[in-house]
């Protein structure tokens, strides 16, 4: 059983008090550019998900608690939660640096932008 911690209300509880919401940081193409949405972009948005072995980023909801959505970084091998962070936030810097595969690609320019500011 996973022990989840809600960063919004601070509640800690086991998995059954929460609800997993799938992969984090999925961007809906039509939100950013409603006119030019390619079939590939829409397909990727709807169906294509990362499946990393190791560090993964997910959405969770404090289902039976405060009802708010938040993000979590979890290791898919050890099932250990590395961090919990707000729904509008990016993961802690060190986790973005540790990310591999598709996540590393995704966080690459985020890290650059953060380094600039």
């Amino acid at each position: 059983m996973l022990v989840v911690h809600c960063p919004v209300c601070g509640a800690e509880g086991d998995e059954t008090d929460f609800h997993g919401g799938g992969q984090a940081h999925v961007r809906r193409p039509a939100t950013h550019d409603p006119v030019n949405v390619s079939d590939e972009a829409q397909r990727d948005y709807l169906f294509i998900r990362h499946n990393p072995k190791g560090l993964h980023f997910e959405r969770w909801r404090c289902d039976r608690g405060c009802g708010k959505w938040f993000h979590a970084a979890r290791d898919t091998v050890t099932m250990e939660f590395k961090a919990f962070y707000g729904i509008t936030e990016l993961p802690p810097r060190e986790l973005m640096e540790q990310a591999t595969g598709e996540w590393a690609t995704y966080f690459k320019d985020k890290l650059k932008a953060e380094a600039k500011s």
């Binding site: 919004v8 209300c9 601070g10 509640a11 509880g13 086991d14 059954t16 008090d17 289902d63 039976r64 608690g65 405060c66 009802g67 708010k68």
Partner: protein, 200 residues
């Protein structure tokens, strides 16, 4: 015209017997759902003006003033408890006062059933349907916790050390009542230390 009348969701159930704790339904409780932003000063001030208390900002807490209680449900949601007779009027006053702010007031007195559990072993009884550590120091009087109880959504309010209110949605009232009847049977009492009682 048909007359408006209130019937509690557990009116047809008999008073329980043979339990290790006391269990009854509270039928005269008025409940008002309040939503708004805790960082909106106008909203908080208007709520205080009507209720006489500041809505609690700390997670899972409650405050009371006279017969009015405010329970924290979420960072932007509170449940106001008062007598059922007062609820309609109080909700109307709140609506008028909060008119200019981004907020929501709904009288939800009939939405939930309130179960009052009272007695020494009440925490152990509730533990049978919950994954929370109810024996820890987190659950002192005044604590409010929305939780998963017996697989359904419930709201737990620690009234006193051995007095707990469990709020469940009205349609689950019979189920929750039956669950507590089964888990709180005197022979099924859990003793945390020492010899267990023998089930009959």
């Amino acid at each position: 015209m048909s007359e408006l009348y209130v019937e509690s969701p557990l009116a047809h159930r008999e008073a329980p017997q043979g339990l290790s704790i006391e269990l009854r339904e509270i039928t005269d409780r008025g409940m008002i759902d309040v939503r708004g932003s805790a960082s909106d000063k106008k909203f908080m001030a208007a709520a205080k003006k009507v209720l006489g208390i500041d809505l609690p900002k700390a997670s899972r807490t409650s405050v009371s003033w006279g017969d009015v209680k405010a329970l924290w449900l979420s960072i932007d949601q509170w449940l106001i408890l008062c007598s059922r007779a007062k609820a309609v009027e109080l909700a109307a006053t709140l609506k008028t006062e909060l008119g200019g702010t981004h907020s929501l007031i709904v009288d939800v007195s009939d939405m939930r059933a309130v179960l009052r559990l009272e007695g020494e072993g009440v925490r152990e009884v509730l533990l049978k349907g919950s994954s929370l550590d109810l024996l820890s120091d987190d659950y002192t009087p005044g604590t409010v916790r929305r939780m998963r109880y017996a697989e359904i959504a419930a709201l737990l309010h620690v009234v006193e050390d051995t007095v707990f209110d469990v709020y469940v949605f009205r349609s689950y009232a019979d189920y929750a009542w039956d669950f507590i009847l089964a888990t709180a049977r005197a022979p099924a009492k859990v003793t945390l230390f020492g010899a267990q009682s023998t089930p009959i």
